[in-house]
Symmetry: none
């Protein structure tokens, strides 16, 4: 009966995998289409038939590449967490030893990842809970490692007296959150491109950490 399109929580941008690790071919196409569908309708809201239709394949063909729908999600979630963790780690490595520079690098990378891969960010954060524990575990481990990177930088900055913060945990959560909600409202534009956005998030983070930034430009 229904001819109206199903509701979607994200604009239908082309979904882009962050990793070059997945070789071209049907497997990659499945992951990309699934990323798009899971991001816009949720794991339970997107059926294997929807996925097959989007790929111009028959549902059964998917099972030559993944043992189950859950495994497709698990792979996306794993890739998302790895790209995120790798992005943070690489940023930190190029940032010298100053806590302020390290924080700049982390926040910038965090924001760029979420702004450039909004679908993956959504899937990773909203759908990981449908995975059974054994499929979610590797990603949850990575997540903790990534959180630890931020915490360590904040603690070092505090120890050195460059950060001044009422509550390290809540502040760290606030800084993380800056990126996590991006996919729901941000869309790159000339007036606010990803680079400017990253700069703004860096500035806001430093303010929360009690670091006096340069004088704020007019809006």
């Amino acid at each position: 009966m229904s001819v109206t399109p199903p509701p979607s929580r994200l604009r239908s941008l082309k979904a882009v995998l962050p990793s070059s690790a997945v070789p071209d071919g049907t497997r990659r196409r499945i992951l990309e289409a699934a990323l798009q569908l899971f991001a816009s309708r949720g794991f339970h809201g997107a059926s294997i038939r929807d996925l097959a239709t989007a790929l111009e394949l028959r549902p059964s063909a998917l099972y030559a590449h993944f043992p189950s729908k859950e495994h497709v999600l698990a792979e996306l979630v794993r890739m998302g967490h790895e790209a995120h963790h790798e992005g943070l780690r690489t940023a930190l490595l190029g940032a010298g030893s100053e806590p302020i520079e390290q924080l700049r690098a982390l926040v910038r990378a965090h924001t760029l990842l979420h702004a450039n891969h909004p679908q993956l960010a959504v899937v990773v954060n909203e759908e990981i809970h449908v995975l059974p524990p054994e499929l979610a575990a590797p990603s949850l481990a990575l997540r903790e490692q990534s959180a630890a990177l931020l915490h360590a930088v904040i603690e070092r900055g505090r120890a050195q007296g460059v950060f001044s913060v009422p509550h390290a945990g809540v502040t760290a959560a606030a800084i993380s959150t800056l990126g996590l909600r991006l996919p729901y409202w941000y869309e790159p534009s000339a007036a606010l491109d990803v680079d400017m956005l990253a700069d703004l998030h860096v500035e806001l983070s430093l303010r929360m950490l009690g670091v006096q930034g340069p004088p704020a430009p007019v809006s």
Copy 2:
């Protein structure tokens, strides 16, 4: 057949409706059970049968109270937005005319609502997208009004020179976001109760707005 419990994205606290507007009775019990289920498994992940089972009722009995599963969600989403909007409006009314006091009031109310009603916050933010436009519209309108309250305060503060901010929109988004992710990590405790949390969010918000707070206490 399945023995293992389905994965859940939230701890299974007792779900609590914010409003006294719903009279006791089966209708209220349905809303409370649905809130719990939709929050922990998502709208598509929780079936009418699950809901009926949780209520010790037969699925068909629910249709005497709501015309469809979607209408149950719509009602929750509406209540959530109304409670939120009402909470912000009330806070603002009691806050005097100073932008700093107004912002304090808004952030405090925003944080308390999300900390005290985590299930409703999750359902309102993650599941509204499954509603067809006509059911989602009233809530989306309220949401814009609530956002406008925050924007107006920030703009007034800026005009009066008490807020100094690199980008009003991004900063407003950052402040809103502070509350939205709470349900995923925050749990009230003696070491960090909801009141302290609200104070911390106020402090972080003011810092982002360039307002020098009191000297930060250690940890």
Copy 3:
């Protein structure tokens, strides 16, 4: 493509449940239709859709009465074993204390049950192996009790010297087997009705046990 009817291992007699314990209604109709289908095509060869079609129902309607296809089979297998065990026990109770009379009663009951309920005999014996252990267990327990009845009679007869047998176990198996293959070749007729058949099996059993019967009639 295929328009030819699926192969069947049994003639399509009306399947008859042995028990009056199942009340009339859809549940009973399902059991009867399943008995017919499982007997003629095997559990795996008969689909839920076949069953629903035979009942002029939609497949989903079956799940209001049984939680799974396996549970339908399990119920049939249980009923078959209970009817069998009950039949043997009742026969034995009315047979006095003479081993020969007791054996007569057991063989007669065993044969009548298999001859009168060929579908149930086939399902019970050929399909029980598809049940998971927990569903098969009660029936397997009954089966052992039934076997024990026959063994006990043979042993008592041997102890009293009225039976003379080269190997009790093999002979007991041979007597049991007399009934088990009946559904594959026997069809009641005026020339060989179930009563005559039971008499013949009694005679053959006694001969195997070394008991001199009455002079054999000419074919």
Copy 4:
């Protein structure tokens, strides 16, 4: 996904083809693995994928050797019936002209075949019904010829007055049945090896035919 092994109706002995007519190679390996699987799970319960997995092959590889799954079964059924018929014929040829000796030979051969090739016995008897008539026909013809051999011996013995039997058909069925259920309970052991079993079946058959055997040994 399933971790528990599928239920099986036969112990997982190594399945052994009776015939040296099948040359070594993949075709023979397929037949042996199929024999094992069809015997333990039934034709419909064992998939081409199961078969390929057991052979460490891909499903498509099987189609270079057999045109369909049904043809694999048909070949097994044909081989089983030929081995059986050949076994009976050979036994009869070496048995002289006395009905008693002929019957001894037939029963002995029948029992040895079923005891030594339980999987084939099960497949031949329980799965032939899934074959379409044209694939089953040759085997059914052989089956009738084998039955005719037994009937002929019984009739000659009756005509000569050495057998005395209440009903030739029922008695012949009883004698045949002796072998058919063997795979479900018999396992060769030192206490009851196949040779002893064959002797016992000969003895039981002769008793059913009214021939006084040697005095029965104790147990």
